[in-house]
């Protein structure tokens, strides 16, 4: 009677303290039936990755509004790979200019959700990623 639950880590890397969006997503995903680990603001990429591994999450959602995404998002992806956890899917949200999205995707971020994203869109992404794995 196996019951697999999808576990998602919602994390805020770097120094940005605006957590309204991250908190909303965490709660909305909980209401959709996911188990969400929320670790608060000011997480280093190293802490995020160790948390993702210990919690054996399927997804890591990074929220960032301070413009440091080009440095910090790929760092998380790289550290996950270095620890043998490249199967964990990384997605991001916040204030991310569209022109940065292709390079972030090339570096391993599976999706970027900008301002105006709905919960529905994120759930669609999670469910289709789950199916593929």
């Amino acid at each position: 009677m196996a019951v697999k639950k999808i576990r998602i880590l919602i994390a805020k890397p770097g120094l940005d303290g605006h957590d309204r969006g991250a908190k909303f997503i965490a709660r909305a995903l909980r209401d959709e039936g996911y188990e969400v680990i929320y670790t608060g603001i000011r997480q280093t990429p190293e802490a995020i990755v160790q948390t993702a591994i210990q919690e054996d999450v399927d997804f890591v959602g990074l929220s960032l509004l301070s413009g440091a995404h080009n440095e910090l998002f790929p760092r998380v992806v790289d550290l996950l790979a270095a620890s043998g956890a490249e199967d964990i899917v990384v997605f991001g949200g916040g204030i991310i200019p569209e022109e940065d999205i292709p390079s972030l995707k090339a570096k391993g971020v599976a999706a970027i959700f900008g301002p105006g994203t709905t919960t529905k869109q994120i759930v669609e992404f999670l469910e289709s990623a789950r199916e593929r794995s």
């Binding site: 209401d31 948390t51 919690e55 054996d56």
Partner: protein, 327 residues
């Protein structure tokens, strides 16, 4: 990856994956737990419970630091309730322990209660074995102290820390049946809040009552039992934590030498075996009788007075046993 070997080597991914298999009730989980079982028994298991907001996570966070100073590897299982509506959960306890996130000697795992029959106790017990076999000498189990989970924690832990805080009616809670029974060490956290001393007095009173009842039950006036320490702390201000750790050490040593620890562990194993047995029987029945599928139909028959409750179930069990006989 050979999970058993990797878990014993302390490979974090392996430990995490094994825990997930257990949580997800995967069939291989049983095999893994049995394979790891011979290597368990070296950890000290500390249950931490109390009402929400009492400061359990912050307290555990400080204790982790002190345990690390003593050179011990520490694991924490933080349990939070699943939403009864969506089945999802927000697991936020580790937020208060995140300074330890990159310490290789600390493993923190958040678990949702997942509301299953036998759910949290079964899964948590097995998860503890994995962490034990992986070499974590101190394992903290943190749960919210309401309802059933709080009793389960006694069945899982060597020592139970009950965390109270002033000004929330914990005084009254403390009197309620059962709550005081489960604690080994009583901690009044946020001690700078008004009402702390009053709470302490009330806890002392209830404990003295409990101890004399126990002594009477043993038929001696002598306290052969180990008395329950009460401590005042302020986790946020790092106040009283070192004293707490000392008390935990000496309490654990005391119950060990008094033979009480072995007694507790045997009792725990009894409860665990019972739990596995119940679960397996239920699974067995469910598979063969398809309880979930048939239940609505049975209820309908009863509702129409076309059946009677015990005859219905006994009939099902009888035909199940018949089938097995003929196999």
């Amino acid at each position: 990856m050979d999970l058993v070997t990797e878990v014993r080597r302390g490979n974090l991914r392996a430990i995490a994956r094994t825990i997930s298999l257990i949580e997800d009730l995967e069939p291989e989980a049983e095999v893994l737990v049995d394979a790891l079982y011979p290597f368990t028994g070296r950890s000290r298991i500390l249950g931490v419970t109390g009402s929400p907001g009492a400061g359990k996570s912050t307290l555990v966070d400080r204790l982790i630091t002190l345990e690390r100073h003593r050179g011990r590897k520490v694991a924490v299982i933080a349990v939070d309730p699943s939403s009864p509506f969506s089945g999802g959960a927000i697991l936020g306890d580790r937020l208060r322990m995140q300074t330890h996130a990159t310490d290789p000697g600390v493993f923190i795992r958040s678990m949702a209660s997942r509301g299953f029959l036998g759910g949290i106790a079964a899964a948590t017990g097995d998860v503890i074995k994995v962490l034990d076999a992986a070499g974590y000498q101190s394992i903290f189990i943190e749960t919210i102290g309401v309802g059933q989970t709080e009793i389960k924690i006694v069945e899982l832990s060597d020592v139970v820390l009950l965390v109270l805080m002033p000004g929330t009616g914990d005084e009254i809670q403390a009197m309620k049946a059962g709550v005081m029974e489960i604690g080994d060490i009583f901690i009044i956290n946020k001690k700078d809040l008004p009402g702390a001393d009053k709470l302490r007095t009330e806890v002392e009173y209830v404990l003295s009552f409990k101890n004399s009842v126990q002594a009477a039950g043993r038929g001696d006036g002598d306290s052969e039992g180990v008395s329950n320490p009460i401590l005042m702390t302020s986790a946020v201000q790092d106040d009283g934590i070192e004293a707490l750790q000392e008390v935990i050490e000496s309490y654990a040593t005391e119950i060990e030498s008094a033979g009480r620890l072995a007694e507790k562990r045997r009792y725990r194993l009894e409860r665990e075996l019972l739990g596995i047995l119940n679960r397996k029987v239920h699974e067995l029945m469910d598979v063969h009788i398809e309880v979930s599928k048939q239940l609505p139909e049975w209820a309908e028959r009863l509702y129409r007075r076309e059946s009677r409750p015990y005859s219905l179930i006994n009939e099902q069990i009888r035909s199940f046993l018949e089938e097995r006989k003929s196999d």
